[in-house]
C-alpha cells in the first residue's frame, strides 16, 4: 500500500434536531468544512465515498439526490452502508481507494438525520432493519409476549444490555463503573463544540440518579440520537505533504465480521451462540490492523483511542478487545482515570458515540477525531500528551461488524 494520509477534517454541530437543514445541506456542511480544512477545491478531488445507515430517516437512496451537494457530479462516487459501522467503512473506503493507487485525493462524507423521521431517535430506521429479523419468526408462531419483551428491553439497547450483562458478570465491573464512563463522555463532550450531549462537570452521581431503562442500563447511560455529518479528505503522500503541515498518516486498517455474536439474525442462526461481549470481530480487526502498522504491544505503543461506545459498557469491552488493557481489567484502569483526557490511555476524549450518535457518521467521526488528535487540531479536547499513534474503532452491522483504523504522525513506509 502506498503512503496515504488524512489532510482535512470537517463536521457539523450535532443536536437532536437540526431542523435548519435537510440531509443534503447537512452533508454539504461537513464536506465543505473538510475541503476548507484541507485547503482544497472540489476540482482537486478525484472521487467521493459517502454513506449513512441504510433506511434511516426513511430515505432509501440518499446518495442519488445529495451528490450535487457534496460535489459528486463528474466524479466517481461510491455509497457504502454497513449499518452502525457505516462511517468506519466510508472512511476506510476512501483510505483503501487512495492507498491502492486508484485515486490521489478522495473525499469521504457520512451523515445521519434522525429528526426527519417522526419517531424519536432511530425507531423508524431500526424497524426497517428489524423487520426481516422478526417477521419470519412471527410466521413460525413467535408469541406477541416474546416479541414485545424483545422490544421492551430496546432494539440496539437490547443487544447491548445483554452484552453488558455478560461483561459485568465476567469482569467484576459494576453498574457504578458504567456511570463513570457515561459521566466522562458527557464531560469530554462539553469540551467538543461539535458534540451533542454536553454536560460540564458531569459526575457519576448525576448519571446514577437517572431512571433505569433495562437493567443494567440507566437513561443516563444511553447515547442520544443526533443529527449530524462528518467528512475527511484523504490524499496520497505528495499532495498530503504539499497541503498539510501535519497530516494523520494511515498505518493500518481492517474490518472483520463475527456472525456468532448476533442474537436472532435473519437466519435464526447465531442465537447468541457465544457471549455477545466476546467480539471476535474486534480482536481480529485489531490484530490485522496492528500487524500492518507494525504495532507489537498496543498497550505501550498506542497513545489514544476513539472507541465506538453508544453504551458505556462498550468502551470497556472494546478497549480490552483492542488490546489496550488486559481481559476484564478496563474498568479498573478507567476508575483510576487512565482513560481521561490527561490520562495514560485517553479514550473517546471527544465524548465519543455515547455523547453524540449520528449513526452513519459516528464511526467516521472516530477516524476524524483520532486524526485531529494527531494533527493537534482538536482544540479544547486536545490531549496534553504527544499523540504518535491513535486508533479509531467502529461497531455495528448486525452487532457483528467491526472496523479498526490505525493512524500515525509519520508515514508507514
Amino acid at each position: 500500500m502506498r503512503n496515504t494520509a488524512i489532510i482535512g477534517c470537517g463536521q457539523t454541530k450535532h443536536s437532536s434536531r437540526r431542523r435548519d437543514v435537510n440531509v443534503a445541506e447537512l452533508a454539504a456542511e461537513a464536506a465543505e468544512a473538510a475541503l476548507l480544512d484541507a485547503g482544497l477545491s472540489l476540482k482537486e478531488v478525484d472521487a467521493i465515498v459517502s454513506g449513512n445507515m441504510q433506511g434511516f430517516g426513511g430515505v432509501a437512496q440518499p446518495e442519488l439526490w445529495l451528490g450535487d451537494w457534496i460535489g459528486a457530479p463528474g466524479k466517481p462516487a461510491i455509497r457504502i452502508a454497513t449499518g452502525g459501522t457505516t462511517g468506519g467503512s466510508v472512511g476506510q473506503g476512501a483510505l483503501y481507494t487512495v492507498a491502492s493507487g486508484m485515486y490521489d485525493v478522495v473525499l469521504a462524507v457520512a451523515w445521519e438525520k434522525h429528526s426527519d423521521s417522526k419517531e424519536a431517535g432511530a425507531t423508524t430506521g431500526l424497524s426497517h432493519v428489524a423487520m426481516a429479523n422478526l417477521f419470519h419468526a412471527v410466521n413460525y408462531g413467535l408469541s406477541f409476549k416474546a416479541l414485545i419483551a424483545t422490544i421492551a428491553v430496546g432494539a440496539a439497547a437490547g443487544v447491548a444490555s445483554y452484552q453488558a450483562r455478560f461483561y459485568l458478570h465476567r469482569s467484576g465491573c459494576g453498574i457504578e463503573h458504567l456511570d463513570m464512563v457515561a459521566a466522562k463522555a458527557r464531560r469530554n463532550a462539553a469540551k467538543n463544540p461539535y458534540a451533542h450531549l454536553q454536560w460540564p462537570n458531569c459526575q457519576p452521581e448525576d448519571i446514577a440518579k437517572t431512571e433505569m431503562v433495562a437493567y443494567p442500563f440507566r437513561y443516563g447511560h444511553i447515547c442520544p440520537a443526533s443529527d449530524g455529518a462528518s467528512a475527511i479528505v484523504v490524499a496520497e503522500e505528495k499532495t498530503a505533504k504539499r497541503l498539510c503541515k501535519k497530516p494523520a498518516w494511515l498505518l493500518g486498517l481492517a474490518s472483520y465480521s463475527d456472525e456468532e455474536n448476533q442474537l436472532q439474525s435473519e437466519s435464526y442462526g447465531g442465537v447468541g451462540v457465544i457471549d455477545p461481549s466476546e467480539q471476535m470481530g474486534c480482536r481480529l480487526s485489531a490484530k490485522k490492523a496492528y500487524s500492518m502498522a507494525g504495532i507489537i504491544d498496543p498497550q505501550k505503543e498506542i497513545d489514544l483511542a476513539e472507541i465506538y461506545q453508544p453504551f458505556p459498557s462498550q468502551e470497556l469491552i472494546f478497549s480490552e478487545r483492542l488490546g489496550l488493557f488486559d481481559d476484564g481489567a478496563a474498568w479498573r484502569h478507567m476508575e483510576k482515570g487512565e482513560t481521561d483526557i490527561n490520562g495514560r490511555m485517553p479514550i473517546s476524549v471527544s465524548g465519543g458515540v455515547n455523547a453524540t450518535n449520528a449513526i452513519g457518521s459516528s464511526a467516521l467521526q472516530r477516524i476524524l477525531e483520532a486524526a485531529l488528535q494527531i494533527m493537534g487540531k482538536a482544540g479544547e479536547h486536545q490531549v496534553p500528551k504527544k499523540v504518535k499513534k491513535a486508533i479509531a474503532h467502529g461497531w455495528g452491522g448486525l452487532t457483528n461488524y467491526v472496523t479498526v483504523t490505525v493512524l500515525g504522525d509519520s508515514p508507514g513506509s
Binding site: E29, M131, S143, A152, E260
Partner: protein
C-alpha cells in the same frame, strides 16, 4: 453558509396502511424441524462434526468451522441462565406494538418486572434468547438452574416454549 435555508415546520405526516402480512421472509428449513420438535416438548439442535458444538435452534452451517451441520441432537429442557436483563415495573401505555398495549392485551401485568434472559440448555453450546418466568428478580443469578416452561396447548410453533423458570420455587 449559502446552502442553509430558513427553519422548516414539523415533518409532514401522511396516514396509510402498511400491509406487513404481505412480506414473505423465510426462515431456514431447519426452523421447521425445530418447531415441529417443540410439539413433542423436544428441543432439537444441530451438531457440528468439526468442533463438536450443538446449536439450538439448529442451523445449517457452523459459523466457526463453516461445515454443514447434518447431525441432529435433542437436548435437555433443563438448563442454566447465562445472562439476564430486566425492565422497570411495566406500566400501561409503555409497551405498545402495532397499536396493541401489552397490559391491555393481558401479556404483562401492571407492575410486573419482565426478565428476558439467555438460557443454555444442557447438552447444547448456544444461548436461547427467551423469558425467565415465575422468578423473583432479586434472587436471579447467572448460573442459576432453570427448566423449560411449555405452553398448555402445544401447536408446533415458537410460542410452545413460553420461557424458562427456576428449578427451585422462589417464594
Amino acid at each position: 453558509m449559502s446552502y442553509i435555508k430558513d427553519v422548516r415546520p414539523e415533518t409532514m405526516m401522511v396516514e396509510g396502511n402498511w400491509a406487513v402480512g404481505y412480506y414473505r421472509y423465510k426462515a431456514p428449513r431447519l426452523l421447521e424441524e425445530f418447531v415441529s420438535g417443540l410439539k413433542d416438548k423436544k428441543l432439537v439442535g444441530s451438531l457440528c462434526l468439526g468442533c463438536g458444538k450443538v446449536i439450538v435452534p439448529p442451523r445449517n452451517i457452523c459459523g466457526r468451522c463453516h461445515r454443514r451441520m447434518e447431525e441432529r441432537r435433542v437436548v435437555s429442557d433443563w438448563g442454566t441462565i447465562t445472562c439476564f436483563v430486566y425492565t422497570p415495573p411495566v406500566k400501561r401505555g409503555k409497551y405498545v406494538l402495532f397499536g396493541l398495549d401489552a397490559v391491555e392485551q393481558g401479556v404483562f401485568k401492571e407492575g410486573e418486572i419482565v426478565i428476558p434472559c439467555f438460557a443454555r440448555f444442557d447438552g447444547s453450546d448456544s444461548n436461547v434468547a427467551t423469558l425467565l418466568l415465575n422468578a423473583d428478580v432479586n434472587k436471579v443469578q447467572i448460573g442459576m438452574r432453570v427448566k423449560a416452561v411449555w405452553a398448555k396447548e402445544l401447536k408446533g410453533q415458537l410460542s410452545d416454549l413460553e420461557g424458562v423458570e427456576p428449578l427451585e420455587k422462589q417464594g
